[in-house]
Structures are given as C-alpha cells and as structure tokens.
C-alpha cells in the first residue's frame, strides 16, 4: 500500500489518535500487521468512545428494548415503533454537547442536521424536533452568549429544513458552566412497510455518495467528543463542522423521492466519523465488504489525502447502495435536486473494506475488527465521596415561611421555571400543519394526518435529582416524562435516551452511570416502555469538573383519538380543582431549596412506581371519560408552581383560583415540595362524584382543593392565607424573566 504507509507509527502517534497502547497492540495482533496511518485514523474514530460505546455497552444491555410494537430497536440509525393503521414512528435523541460549547451556533445547528438525517435515512418524513438544553448559571459570563448561539443555531437549521421544533426543555445550573448540553430529538412518520436500513447487501451493487462535497472540516470530531475539555478547547474550533440547512432540505426531499422507488438496498447518512463509519457499518450489518475509490468522491478542494477524506465530518452527506442497473436513474434523481452524486464503489463478497486512491490500495481492513473489535470495558465503579455531604438535608436549618407569595414569585422568575417563549418563538413550531397545541403545555401534541390519531412528545430530566441519587433520579426522569404524556391524553409507546455523563475513566462517574442506567431500565420495564434508540455522551467535563449526571429521556405517546388532547391550563371559571396523588414532606433536591435557600442537598423525592402507574391510569380514565378540562404534572416548584402555571399559561385568557388546602406538613413542603406522581386537574362540579369514585376504585389519593375564578391566586393552608397574588403580576413575572435575561 502506498502513501501514508511510509509514515512510521510511533507510540506518540498512537496516543495522539486517542488509542491506548493496549488497544494498539490488540489491533496489531488481530490484524497481523502494523496498520498504516490512514488505517490508524479509522481505528481512532471507530474505537472512540463516541462510536464504539466501549464504556457503556455492557450497561446498556440492561435496558428493555423489545415490545410487540417495536419494529426496530437500538443498532440502526434510529428506533421504529408501529402506531397502527399502517404507520410507524421513527425517533431518536442525540447529543451535540462538545461542539456546541466550542461554537454554539454551528454546534447546535449540525446537531439538528445529524439527528434529522438519522430519521429520514430510514424512510421517514421528519415531522417534529425537540431539544433539551442545559447551560451554566445566568451570572456566568459565557451563558448569555451560549444560549443565544445555541437557540439561533437550532432556529436557523430547523426552520430552514421545514421541520417544526415543537417542544423541549431548558435548564440552568452551575454544573454546566464549563460544559453545556445540547440534546436534540427528532421524530419521523413512515408507512410501516417502507422502512429502510443501513445495509450494504448484494455483491456487485453500486455504492453511491450524494449530498454536499467533502471538505477538511470536522476531522476527528468523534475523537474530540471522547475527551475532556481543558484550557486548549477553544483551539478545537476547527473540528466543529459547519452546517448547510438548505443542502439538508434538498437531501430530505431527494431521499424521500428516491424511497418511493424500489431501487434502494440500504442507505445511511455520514455522521460522526463520516465516510468511514457509514462504509464499515453498512458492510457490517450485511456481512459483506465494500470497495471504495476515493478519487470519485465529490471534494470541495483538491489535494485532500485519503486520511482526510475518510475522516472528514463534512455535513449533509449520504451513502446509498442501490440495485445494480438502477444507478443511472438514481443519479438522475439526485441531479434533479441539484445534489452532488457519484458512484464511488461497490459491494463485495468478503467482509473486508478495501479503499483505493486512483487504483492503489490505501486501506484493507476486516469489517468486524473495526466495528466490534474495541473491547467492552468494564470500568471500575466507586460510590462517590460527595454523596456523604449532600445526601441529607437538615430542615431545622431552613426556616418555615409564614407566607409563600414572594417565594412563588422568585420561583416563577427562576430561568428553569419561567416561560420559554423567547426560545420557542424563534423556532417555527407550526410548519407541516400538525402541531395541535402551542409549545408550553406538558407535552407537544401532533396530529397524524389522514387518521384520528395524534402523537404526544416530551423530553425530561431533573439532573439535580440524579446528582443526589442517580438511580432514583433516572427513574424519576422516566416517570415524569411518562406523566407529561399522560397529562396530554397519550399513552406512552416508546422511549429514547441521551445519557450525558462525565469522564468514565473515573470510578465515581462510572458509578453514576451504572446507577442511572439501572434505574432507567427498571422504570422502563415497570411501565413496559421499550427503549428503541439512544446516545451516550461521556467526558462532559472541563478542568476535571464534571456535569451532574444527566440521563435525558424523551418519551413518545400515542393518542388514539386527537380529541383526547388535554392541556394544562384552567378553562372555565367555577371549575373545581383537584389534586391526584399524595403530598409528603419532601424538599430534598427541590427547586425551592436551590433557588430560595441556595442548597443542593437531600434525597430526591420518593418515587413509588406502583402509585405512579395508578395515578397515570386514573388520569387517562378521566380524560377518556371527558371528565376533566385540564391536567398538569406537578414537577419543579411543586404544587405552587403547577397551580400558578395552570392559571397563567392559557394562551389567551389567564384565570385566577382559590385553594383551601389541609396539611399536616411544613407549609413550604406542602406548596413547593416536589413529591412525585401528582397531577393537578380541573373539572366541572357536576363530575365531582364520578371523579371521586374512580379515584377510590383505583386506590389513588384524590382531594378537591379549590375552585377556578377571580383575578388572584389565593392559597390558604389550614385556613390561613399563604399566598395571595394578582394573576396579571404572576403572569408578567413568569412570561418575562427569561427574555429579559437573555436578550
């Protein structure tokens, strides 16, 4: 082999490629020779944490991935679930954390681009995007810049491609000061018999490259995402790719048009590790090999080496294998959409990828060695020291407040709780005519055209809980996300996760990971929700400081009839207000304790999975029976914030409410504690008996606590006024807090 083979592979070069000497020796042993530099580059990206999941794969096996409706579980570009009526949904969530911290606008934009490609690659029209964003505290000097950049990047990319961004979450916490999180979710809709996989089958079939040209951008992006940040991270800016949403839009339309024909054998996008990853993975799934000729690859500039071409992470590129004889038609279709396209290789019999440059071989590697060769690491775990100091809270040090009005106002102005219209108004959330409700209720709800069905989507994780107890925190993330779906009238059908953690080489971080995945797996099994896709993002640390463990989950729910769509806001004066579920004296890890008392400590609220299931069942029965007018999950800020939101989040007509609550616990725990499995509902007085009976039958605590109406939110606890605030003022505070900070 020519070219790069002349460069001697030294231990230093191996280290620069992020491989350990042990890994290098393994490559040498299995290959029976020393790899050349280009091949070493391939191993570097394919065996990186980002592509190989070597630290996490062992634990991910604990997640339930099967179910009667699962058409495709993890392992493909995204997961697929049958929703009946001949239709299926394809969805996945993925991180773009490291690039977004270095260059927020392009980092976030290309995150959107990547996840969109994962969805339409499989044949689905992308119909919804969501995102989960986490930034440092509002007083950190970089936060405002990062928020603006990330939101602008998502806005620009998503809007241009014509896929609505329908919901999401945004959190601020000092643990993200040096390492923000940008997790992007996409869902597509597809006829259930028209799903395409990334398989290169059929010896002799042509391999076609199409999309944008290959440039020198993004080389070693996957390796960058597999190490910690330090002072030199800013220098990594050249490894951040630049997105072209217009090219992506053309790719979407061209792919969906191509997929109407029966020419495609397999198709995959070029994401992390570019042409290398898609070539090896497509061959790997089919048990075949591929021969590639690099001189045929459409290139942005002359003089690129095989190493650069193979490792480039230029955006908006695809690889497709078509039936032999159909390549002419396929190329013509790509040219109709003004896309670059070229036949760059063909499928071969032996499971080996051979890559040539002008006819001379530059790479010759067995597929399996590259794809599955990295050893699963069972990294050591250790119970973290920090938990000894934070896992309890001494409530005697927290003065029980006599009045809650000021606390409520502070919580409503906390950037974690305040309204996010400044963000979602920058996203086109209506295009494609499916969005049934504006962003800002518990879950986003989209109709499925041509049927009565609708889909509910929610993304969630309270990482403070996960920091205090990763097992319980991950369970709560699942339970809360499910509850958001339930409150909107849907039944959960599938879940995707994005597991954001620190450096896995540290046993305490690995312990967090193990705990969180176990907790998530247990909760998913209990609720019978398959995990069909996901992504692991490790090394989220800067200068040795890790983020809180953040196992973000996105749950997809199905409404058999879109008339079941329920929103969180109060709708009629004189409606009664009821609380489903039990309130306990739990303040650990709460937003109240953090915002008002500046304490991040205690145990996260207790989660009783059986109770959660009964509460969900009751809520759905009430919705299906047409017995309630609103349902809202109690989460950050507890009952107090849930009440305020039900009053003020109505898009046109906010309403007041008067509550009379009986309590045997502290006032602050009663109103601002975050006890789990609680849903705030409102309903017409004539339905009261029916509600009470249903709750009794299911053994779910239920109490009528007040009435809708008036211009004030009044909360009396045990007959004493605890909160009495004007609705217009609460709305003003909640509506404007984030905007006045970021702009």
């Amino acid at each position: 082999m020519k070219g790069s083979s002349s460069i001697e592979i030294t231990p230093n070069i191996v280290r620069q490629h992020g491989l350990t000497l042990g890994e290098f020796n393994r490559i040498e042993d299995l290959l029976g020779r020393v790899p050349n530099l280009t091949e070493l580059g391939i191993f570097s990206v394919m065996w990186s944490e980002h592509c190989s999941y070597k630290s996490s794969r062992y634990y991910l096996k604990k997640l339930p991935t099967k179910g009667p409706c699962v058409l495709q579980g993890p392992g493909e570009n995204a997961g697929v679930i049958d929703i009946g009526g001949g239709m299926a949904v394809i969805f996945k969530i993925e991180s773009h954390n490291h690039p977004s911290f270095i260059e927020p606008r392009q980092g976030a934009a290309t995150g959107v681009g990547g996840i969109l490609r994962d969805i339409f690659t499989m044949g689905a029209r992308p119909i919804a995007l969501m995102n989960s964003l986490r930034f440092g505290t509002s007083d950190h000097p970089r936060t405002r810049f990062l928020v603006n950049g990330v939101v602008d990047g998502i806005s620009n990319y998503g809007n241009c491609t014509g896929v609505p961004t329908v919901g999401g979450e945004i959190y601020f916490d000092s643990c993200y000061n040096g390492n923000i999180l940008v997790n992007v979710f996409c869902l597509g809709l597809v006829p259930s018999d028209k799903i395409f996989l990334g398989k290169a089958s059929g010896v002799g079939n042509p391999v076609i490259y199409f999309g944008s040209k290959t440039g020198r951008d993004g080389i070693h992006g996957a390796s960058m995402a597999s190490s910690e940040f330090d002072e030199s991270s800013e220098e990594k800016r050249p490894t951040v790719q630049v997105g072209d949403p217009f090219a992506e839009k053309l790719l979407i339309e061209a792919c969906l048009e191509l997929m109407k024909e029966d020419w495609i054998i397999g198709i995959q996008d070029m994401g992390a590790a570019g042409l290398t990853c898609s070539t090896f993975e497509m061959a790997g799934r089919a048990g075949t090999g591929i021969d590639l000729e690099l001189s045929k690859v459409p290139m942005r500039e002359p003089g690129m080496t095989p190493y650069e071409i193979l490792l480039s992470e230029s955006q908006e590129r695809m690889l497709v294998v078509v039936r032999k004889g159909m390549e002419g038609e396929a190329l013509e279709l790509f040219h109709k959409w003004d896309l670059n396209a070229a036949i760059i290789g063909e499928v071969t019999d032996k499971p080996i990828v051979r890559i040539f440059e002008n006819g001379s071989q530059v790479v010759n590697l067995p597929v399996e060695l590259v794809i599955d060769g990295a050893l699963d690491l069972k990294r050591p775990t250790k119970h973290p020291e920090y938990l000894k100091t934070v896992d309890h809270v001494n409530l005697t040090l927290v003065t029980e407040p006599m009045h809650g009005g000021e606390i409520l106002k502070r919580l409503l102005s906390s950037p974690n709780i305040s309204n996010k219209h400044w963000v979602y108004e920058q996203y086109d959330h209506m295009v494609r005519l499916n969005t049934l409700g504006l962003p800002g209720s518990d879950a986003a709800v989209l109709r499925v055209k041509g049927s009565r069905k609708a889909l509910a989507l929610s993304v969630d994780c309270n990482s403070r809980y996960c920091y205090l107890d990763p097992f319980q925190g991950a369970q709560i993330a699942v339970a809360e996300c499910v509850r958001n779906i339930i409150c909107s009238g849907g039944e959960p059908i599938g879940l995707t996760n994005c597991l954001n953690f620190g450096n896995p080489e540290k046993p305490e971080i690995m312990w967090q990971f193990e705990q969180a995945v176990s907790g998530m797996g247990e909760a998913c099994k209990f609720f019978d929700i398959p995990v069909v896709s996901g992504n692991v993002s490790l090394y989220n640390e800067t200068m040795g400081e890790s983020i809180y463990p953040t196992p973000t989950v996105a749950v997809v729910g199905l409404l058999e009839d879109r008339s079941h769509h329920t929103t969180q806001w109060f709708k009629e004066d004189q409606d009664l207000i009821g609380l489903v579920g039990l309130t306990m004296e739990e303040l650990g890890g709460s937003e109240y304790l953090s915002v008002v008392c500046d304490r991040v400590e205690g145990q996260p609220p207790h989660l009783d999975l059986h109770m959660a299931r009964s509460v969900n069942k009751l809520c759905l029965e009430l919705i299906f029976g047409g017995l309630i007018s609103s349902a809202h999950d109690c989460s950050e800020g507890g009952l107090g914030v849930a009440l305020a939101e039900s009053c003020i989040s109505h898009p046109e007509a906010p309403r007041g409410a008067t509550l009379d609550i009986e309590s045997t616990i502290r006032n602050d725990a009663c109103i601002f504690g975050e006890s789990q499995s609680r849903i705030l509902v409102s309903f017409s007085a004539k339905n009261r008996t029916a509600l009470e009976e249903k709750a009794k039958t299911l053994g779910v605590p239920f109490a009528v606590i007040g009435k809708v109406g008036g211009d004030f939110l009044v909360v009396n606890v045990n007959g004493k006024e605890f909160i009495s605030e004007k609705i217009s003022l609460l709305k003003k505070i909640w509506w404007g807090a984030l905007e006045s900070y970021v702009r």
Partner: protein, 235 residues
C-alpha cells in the same frame, strides 16, 4: 378551478398550501417545479409558498427571481392571472418587482413564530372580499425577514391606491408600534399590486385554514379567492 403550487428548492410550506387547497377546499391542485418553463395559463391561481427558496442565501427571495418558473409567473401575473405569495412567496414577489417595496430583517434580528392580529384594510379585492372591513384576524407569522420597507413616495402611492390589505395590530385593531412584530413600515403585513390580481403577505393563512384547528381565520382568504374566481368577477 386549477391551482398550481410552485416548488422551489428550499420551499417548505409547499405541502401545507397543497394540503389546504386540495384537501380542505377540494380544489384541483398541481405542483409546479421551479425548473419548468411551462405556460401557466391553464391555472386560475398560482401560489408561491413559504420557505427558504435556494436557501435564502444572499437575501430572501433574491435568487428565486431568476428561476425559469418566475419568468412564467411574471408573464402570468402580467396577463391578469391570480398569484398569492405567502411569506417567502411574498419576498420573491417583491424581489421580482411584481410587488413594490422590500422585505428586510426583522427589527429584533430574530426569527419570530407566533400568532398575530391583523386588521383588514381593504375588502374590495379578490383576496379579502370575504372579510369584514376593519375586522381583526388572527394569523400566524414565521419569518426572519418580514420587515416591510418602502420609501415615503412609494408608501403614499400604496395608500392612495388602497393596496395595503393587512396591517399588524392589537386585539382591538390598534395598528400601533406596540403591535408591530417586525418593524414593518406602517405595520404593513400584506399588499396587492395595482392590477389587484397579485397579493403578497407575510402571515400564513394556510396555517389556520384546516378544520382541525379552532382558529380558521385563514379560510377567509382562500374563500375570497375561490369566490372571486367562481363568480368570474374580480372586485
């Protein structure tokens, strides 16, 4: 009645317009590809949909004016054919010189997607005849470059000729700066040409015309067009 929805590379409200015309109003509707230079005279209505034609690189709508199909649209409009340009379609009409003025960056320099109030300024035309004069409609906007600009002479001409059809306003119809979402001159949201057969507007009537929504104000615009064409009289 034949409708044509033009598809530019980067159009992204083309499916929405097609859906409303074909499935809500049950009209015969066809796609018109941007590379086609075909005679459009068989159509009664041409819709230029929203989106990012040619990526909106350079300036929104600036490249689309040079497409093959736009030469035909100019000819079609010149001979009295009805053309509706929504959002990016409005930008293309302005860039092509079919409608006067310019659409520049929103004054806040950000994309805005939300439902706004519009005051109907003129009902004596084929695009808004079903509306009540000075009534207030609710229509969504979704754009980054919707800030309508025109010089003072041009503005006077527009007003004198009664070419302004919609203005951004408050819930009670107050067309003040407070309710101007993007900085448009005189709160202008939609205009017609002098011949009154071409309308461009930034808000999206197709986003509130499907019966699945409680807000169906966008239907008024489509009904106006249909009734004008069916009665054969343009007002």
């Amino acid at each position: 009645m034949n409708c044509g929805v033009v598809v530019f590379p980067g159009s992204n409200c083309d499916h929405d317009c097609f859906h409303v015309l074909k499935h809500v109003f049950k009209l015969k509707t066809e796609w018109v590809w941007h590379k086609d230079s075909i005679d459009l005279s068989r159509f009664d209505l041409i819709v230029l949909p929203g989106g990012y034609s040619y990526g909106d690189y350079l300036r929104a709508g600036a490249i689309a004016q040079f497409s093959s199909v736009m030469k035909e649209v100019v000819r079609f409009a010149g001979s009295g054919g009805m053309v509706l340009g929504i959002c990016n379609g409005f930008q293309i009409l302005v860039e092509s010189g079919i409608l006067p003025g310019a659409l520049i960056q929103n004054h806040a320099q950000k994309f805005i997607c939300k439902t706004v109030h519009l005051r109907v300024e003129n009902v004596s035309n084929s695009f808004s005849r079903e509306c009540v004069h000075k009534s207030v409609l609710n229509l969504p906007i979704a754009h980054h470059q919707g800030n309508y600009f025109i010089g003072s002479d041009g503005l006077r001409q527009l007003e004198d000729n009664r070419q302004v059809v919609f203005r951004y306003c408050g819930p009670a119809g107050e067309a003040t700066e407070e309710f101007n979402p993007n900085g448009s001159v005189s709160n202008i949201a939609g205009i017609i040409n002098e011949g009154r057969n071409v309308m461009g507007l930034m808000p999206h009537p197709e986003r509130c015309a499907d019966p699945a929504w409680s807000n169906r104000d966008g239907q008024l615009i489509f009904k106006s067009i249909i009734n004008s064409l069916q009665s054969g009289v343009s007002v």
